[in-house]
Every structure is written in C-alpha cells, then in structure tokens.
C-alpha cells in the first residue's frame, strides 16, 4: 500500500504543478490566486517528499515488487546503501531531482516575502512549468514506483563502486546545486515576462545563486573525493564528461555571482546577468541529460537509455529555448546602466566573467567535441586531460592572477597604483614562496613552483584585503577591532572564498607535480620505501563482507623507524555482479596522505605467494578538498549577510519606530 500511495503522491505532485502554473501565472495581479499558487507549490513539494519516502521505504524493506528496487537493490546490502540505493539509479535520482525542484519552489513561496508580488507569482509559475516537465518525465517515462506482478526472490545488486558513504550524500548535494539554479532561471524568465530588470532584481537573484553555487561546490568536491579514494589510482579529477557536466554550471554560477553584484550595486550589465542566469540552469539540465542519455562514456554515468535521453534533451530544449527566446526579444530594450572606468571593480568583475565564460567554453567544447564530430561525419578525436591542461589551465591562471586586484579597486573608478601598493606584500609573499619551492623542492619544477606562487598570491591577497579594509597597522588597535566587527559578512565570505581558491591551487599544484608512486610485488614481511615512509606488508587475510569476499592486507607504515599508521587496503569480489574492486587505505599525515591499494595476487620468482601493492605519497592533497570547502563556506557566510535579507532590516526599522 505504501508503494502505491507513493505512486499516487507522485501523480498528485505532477497535477499540482500544472495547477501551480495556472494559479501563479494568473496570480501576477490577483493576490488570491498568487496565494493559491504558493499553496500548490507547498503541496507539490510535500507530495514528492512522500513519494520519495515511499521509495526509500520500499528499498529498506527490500520490496522487490517495486521494479526499481528489484533492479537496484539486494537483501544482502547494508542498510545505509539500501537507503542510498533509492537515489543511486536513474529513476530514483529523478525523484530526488524533482524533490529539489519543488522544494526550491516552496522556498520561493515561503522566503520570497521581499519579492514584488508579480515577480514572485511569475517566478512560481515558471518553477511550476519546470516541475511539470520533470515530474511528467518521471511519472510517464521513468517511474520508479512501477510494480512487478511476480516479484523476483532477490534483487540485482547495485554497482559496488557506488556502495560508499561519500556517494550516498554526493548526489543530494549536487542536485541541490544543480536545481538551485532553477530558481535563478525562473526569476530571470519571470523578470523577462514582467519587463522589470534592474538593481533590485539582481539583489533578489543573489542569495539563490549563492545557495545553489555553494551546494554545487560541496557536491562536486564530494564526487571528486569519491573518485579519489574509490577508483584507486590516486587521481581526483579526470576531465570526465560527467565531472565536466557539473563543472560547467559551477563556472557559470561563479560568473553569475559576480555579475549580479555589479548589476545590484551599479545597475550595470543587466542583460549579461540575465544571460548567465539562464545559462547556469541550462548547463544544469545539460548535465542531467549527459549523465543519463549515454551519449558520452564515463565512469560516473548511469545505465544508458537513448529514448529517455531524447526526452531529456527535449525538456532541455523546450525550457532553455523558451528562456533564451524571451531573452532575445527583451534584450534590445535593456538599458546598459551605470558607467565605469577601465580600472574599476566593475572592469575587474567583467574580466572575471570573460575568463570564466572562456573557461566554460573550453569545458563545453571539450566535452561535446567528439559528439559534434560524430554528427558531422568528421574523424572523431578524444578530448582528454592534455587538452584541458593546455587550454583551460592558462585561461583560469590569467583570471586568478588579476583576482586579488578586484576587491582592492573602488567601484566606478579605481586606483590601480594604490591597489598595487597595497598588494605588494602579497606579491612579495607569493614570489618568495614560489622561489623557495623552486630552490628547495626536489625535483625542480618551474611551472609547478609558479603555480604554488599563484596559490600564495590568492591567499595573501585575500588576507591583505581584510587587513586593508580594517586599516590594520595604520590606525590604533581598538579602531581596527571596531572595524573588524563592523565588516559585513559578505566581505568575509568573498575573501574566504578567494582564499579557498588559493588553497585549492596549492594542493592541486603540489599533489600533481610532486606526488610519489610505487608498485611492487610484495610477500608478507617485505618492506618498501615511499618518500620518507617505510611500508611493511605484515599479512594478507580473507574477510567475509556482507555481500562480498575480500582479501585484506595489513601494512605498517613507518617513518624514521616509528610506526605512524596501519594501512588496511582490500581487494573485494562482489559475486552478485562479478566485479572486483579495490578499497584504498589512506594514512592521513597532516596535509599529506599515504595512499595504499592492494592489487592482484602474483607469485614471486621463487614461487611464494605475493601481492601487487601500489603506494602513493600525495603531498598537500588535503588542500584540494579543503579549498573548495572554504569556497562553499564563504558562500554560506555571504548568504548570512543581513544585507541579503531585506525583511530583517525592514522589521528592525519597524520595531524601532
């Protein structure tokens, strides 16, 4: 009964979304209907939530009469992964997508008190239309609550690579990010319909962009971390089509975050900000399409299905086609807004936007190029890491090089010399660190040392910005502290995020350039050295897992004769799918990691049993994951800035009056 109630709820949510279009669409100037549309949005979210709960219930109780559970679960699977199995497959993940979509609709209804009545109603109508598209797809083309009359006795298990805690929480975060941009998209379309695009509109777009971008940052980082320790060869970013699919909306979202500030503060670039708002969600939908259509091969992709891919492509074309058509129609009537000098905060942000757009173009072209060539009957090349390293990296490096200047410049007309004078100490730190790296780190690598310098430049630049804002060392300490307390959270947030980029660059450069690797066939009792560490294989035993059989090696990791950790890498065999996986063992050593995997069994020359052990010393690798977390934290701090919560200001004023 619960499964059927879930199926009913999903349909009710679909119908409520239709009602939401009609009610909110007609409610732009009729408060009663606008309210009814908001009620429909709440109802739709509640119903998708119940349907999702019913699906999870079916997974937990192993109800194989639900087709999705039969195809993607197994009674031997641990509880956590049975729960996560609900969104670890195509159909279930679409329900999660719809849940996020309707939840964001409800969030507009609930927290959009400061939006003008007509803008809010139209936004909800557009959000309802997106809901109809995606819920319609879920209900009619990919319904996870479809039933089987004669259920199988046992389910066909989930891909063992997906049985992982990081992967259990990675999709929800990623979807909150992807789908968060739907609000921005809806706000843009609603503003295009209403025709009022000004500083106030940008101010309303900003918090939603910040939230979506921060979620997306966390989601991508978790996905990257999963690939790092699950795939077992120490890489953390592969320029894989699915990674790229999440990276494109992230780049567009980052551009939008900045351009919206210009539109809000100066009324400038409204058309560009609108364009980015439409583009960010278009890339989100493109990502959803790429992951599910099977047009690109990838380690992350779901099972492929061309028909569904075509349907998703239709949804993408319909939604963003309508958005961009509206944009083309309205764009000529947009006023260019405030003016600014070549050296100004605005110019810096525009350069940032050009760089991010060029970078996103590189990712977009690199991802789709094989498809384009195939469609045009040209010889099909592969576009992989070498291309992105040669094109994406220099473009981004250019943008990051000028990044610290941006916050130091004033709006309208900045003082380049003044900014340079205030940043000299950061430049000194950066150049000094780069030089030290070049001299001290072996083997000597000039480009990587320059990369480290760039990382320090960004971090030091962010610190200089804060100290400059509070006039540290130039005014008495008490004054500095007073200013520190009065600094808006937005300033803290942006500085933290910029420093986070620097932290990431440090980790990425150091890890990529100076990691050490080894692969050795080892018998128990043998030792090898990896960097300053000595790895001794103590024994290899057999472990019975809940749904796998594993060999587990016990290695002692020593440094200078002292034991620093015990590594227990496993090689698992999952009989249900016949797959073999490696479970990596990681020793955390400050910012570094010693990363060990256990390979196949191989006889030594003398006939004794041995195992292929791979070890990696990944220096500063933690920074690769800490950096993006700082960026997301910066986003969250900016989001809590009271200036983004207009209602609070108004209420406090009312209280004072």
């Amino acid at each position: 009964m619960i499964a059927e109630l879930g199926a009913f709820c999903l349909i009710l949510a679909f119908v409520l979304s239709i009602a939401q279009i009609a009610l909110s669409g007609a409610g732009a100037n009729r408060p009663v209907l606008a309210g009814a549309g908001e009620g429909a949005a709440f109802g739709a979210m509640a119903m998708v939530g119940l349907a999702f709960a019913a699906l999870i219930h079916a997974f937990v109780t192993s109800d194989f009469s639900v087709s999705n559970v039969a195809a993607n679960s197994h009674t031997a699977k641990p509880l956590l992964y049975r729960v996560a199995g609900a969104w670890g497959n195509h159909e279930g993940s679409m329900v999660l997508w719809c849940l996020a979509l309707t939840a964001f609709g409800s969030a507009i209804a609930a927290f959009g008190r400061d939006l003008p009545r007509d803008l809010k109603a139209r936004t909800l109508a557009v959000q309802g239309a997106l809901g109809v598209l995606f819920l319609g797809y879920t209900v009619f083309a990919s319904n996870p609550l479809e039933r089987i009359i004669a259920p199988p006795v046992e389910g066909a298990s989930l891909n063992p690579l997906l049985q992982d805690p990081a992967l259990a929480i990675h999709p929800p975060m990623l979807y909150l990010g992807y789908v968060g941009f739907s609000v921005v998209f809806s706000l843009a379309v609603a503003a295009l319909i209403g025709g009022r695009i000004d500083a106030a509109w940008a101010r309303w777009v900003r918090p939603w962009t910040l939230a979506a971008w921060s979620f997306l940052t966390v989601g991508i980082t978790l996905g990257s971390f999963w690939a790092y320790y699950e795939l077992g060869w120490g890489g953390w970013w592969f320029w894989d089509p699915v990674e790229n699919a999440s990276f494109m909306p992230w780049l567009m979202g980052a551009a939008l975050l900045h351009s919206a500030v210009v539109t809000e503060k100066r009324g400038a670039l409204p058309g560009w900000t609108l364009f980015l708002a439409l583009a960010a969600f278009t890339f989100s939908m493109l990502g959803a399409f790429l992951v599910r259509s099977g047009v690109l091969t990838s380690v992350h992709a779901f099972a492929v299905d061309p028909t569904r891919g075509l349907l998703l492509l239709g949804i993408l074309g319909l939604a963003s086609g309508a958005g961009f058509a509206l944009f083309a129609w309205r764009a000529p009537s947009l006023t260019p807004g405030g003016l600014f000098a070549p050296v100004s905060r605005e110019s810096a942000i525009v350069v940032n936007n050009i760089v991010l757009t060029a970078a996103a173009t590189a990712v977009l072209f690199g991802t789709l190029w094989p498809l384009i060539c195939e469609a045009l009957d040209l010889p099909t090349p592969s576009v992989g890491p070498p291309f992105f390293n040669l094109v994406f990296n220099p473009i981004m490096a250019l943008g990051l090089l000028i990044l610290p200047f941006g916050p130091m410049l004033a709006w309208k007309r900045g003082d380049a010399l003044g900014a340079a004078q205030r940043l000299w100490i950061a430049a000194l730190i950066a150049v000094g660190a780069g030089f030290l790296a070049l001299m001290l780190v072996s083997p000597r690598k000039a480009l990587a040392s320059a990369g480290l310098a760039l990382g320090f430049w960004l971090i030091a630049g962010a610190v200089v910005e804060i100290t400059d804002r509070v006039r540290a060392f130039r005014v008495p300490m008490a004054e500095t502290l007073r200013r520190l307390g009065g600094l808006p959270r937005g300033a803290w947030g942006s500085s933290l995020a910029h420093a986070g980029v620097g932290v990431f660059i440090l980790g990425a450069c150091f890890e990529t350039s100076w990691k050490l690797e080894l692969a050795e066939i080892m018998a128990p009792g043998r030792s090898v050295t990896l960097g300053g560490y000595e790895l001794t294989l103590d024994k290899v035993g057999v472990v019975d897992g809940p749904n796998y059989l594993a060999e587990r090696a016990t290695l002692t990791v020593r440094k200078g004769g002292r034991t620093v950790c015990e590594a227990l890498p496993e090689r698992r065999f999952y009989p249900a799918g016949g797959q073999t996986t490696q479970e990596v063992a990681i020793c955390y050593r400050g910012l570094d990691q010693v990363y060990v995997t256990l390979g196949e069994r191989r006889a030594l020359p003398n006939g004794d049993p041995g195992w292929l052990v791979r070890g990696y010393f990944n220096p500063w690798v933690q920074l690769i994951f800490i950096g993006p977390m700082l960026m997301a934290l910066g986003g969250a701090i900016s989001l809590s800035d009271r200036r983004l919560r207009l209602g609070v200001g108004r209420r406090s004023k009312e209280a004072a009056a």
Binding site: F238, V299, V350, I354, T361, L376, L378, P379, I521
Partner: protein, 148 residues
C-alpha cells in the same frame, strides 16, 4: 612549511606505479613511456587512460608502446603508429589541424570577443550628471514617506 620543503627536498624521485612486470629497465625510457600512457585512451574502458586501466587492452597497448620506445622510436612515431592502428580516437589530445582547430581556438576566441566588447563598453561613456533640483525634491519626498 619550511620543514616540509626540506623533508621533500631530501627525497629522490621514486619509481613509478607501473606494473613491475612491465617496466622498462632504462628509467628515462620508462618515464617517456609513462608520459605517453597518460595520453592514450583505453578504447574498451570508460574514459580511462591506459596508464590507469587494468584491462587487457590497456596492458597490450602499454606493451606495444614500451617495445617501440625500447626500439628507439620517437614519441611522434609511436603516436602515429597508434593513430594508424586505432584512429584519432585513441589519443586524448586532439590534433591541432582541420576541424579540431575550432575546438582549440574557441575558448580563446571567447576571451578575445569579451575583451573587445568590454573595450567598446568603456569607450562610449559620458560623465554622469549630478542630481537636478527637481530630482532632489522627488527623492526627498520618497525618503520622507519612509520615515513617516
């Protein structure tokens, strides 16, 4: 930080994580082979380089590349050999010719167009005027109603 740098400086570059049974005896040749592996796609895998893959195909191609390097052939010759055998799809770096030029130049074209647009936006500018008395009056009216 300094301690770490010194600690790292003390290390020599360690043997790569290639399978010990496949490794070439000459470290310089082995390093060249590893660099090439990172640019060659494992055709039967899901978007992996042959350097990372455990598939038989990857193993065979690694063997072939190592043989050719040991026989003294240059990187370019090895790549040509691979594209003759498997087509362009086998290399992760698209060639800098023909239609692929569009791929290589598009991002830089965006940079260029963006730069030109920014210059144009900056050039046709006029100085903003101060508020006229009428505007001041209207503004005063608007802000007063707020305080009331």
């Amino acid at each position: 930080m300094k301690r770490l740098l010194i600690a790292l400086a003390a290390l020599a570059c360690i043997a790569a994580a290639s399978d010990p049974s496949e490794r070439l005896a000459d470290p310089a040749q082995e390093a060249r082979a590893r660099a090439l592996f990172k640019e060659v796609r494992c055709l039967i895998c899901q978007n992996e380089a042959i350097d990372d893959s455990t598939a038989d195909f990857a193993k065979d191609v690694r063997l072939v590349i190592r043989e050719q390097i040991a026989a003294g052939r240059s990187d370019v010759q090895v790549k040509d050999f691979l594209t003759d055998r498997y087509g362009e799809y086998v290399l992760f770096r698209p060639s800098l010719s023909g239609a692929n030029l569009a791929l290589w130049t598009a991002p830089f074209l965006v940079l260029l167009i963006g730069g030109v647009l920014l210059m144009m936006r900056l050039r046709n500018r006029a100085t903003p005027e101060a508020l006229s008395p009428e505007e001041e009056a209207a503004l005063a009216r608007l802000t007063r109603t707020d305080d009331a």
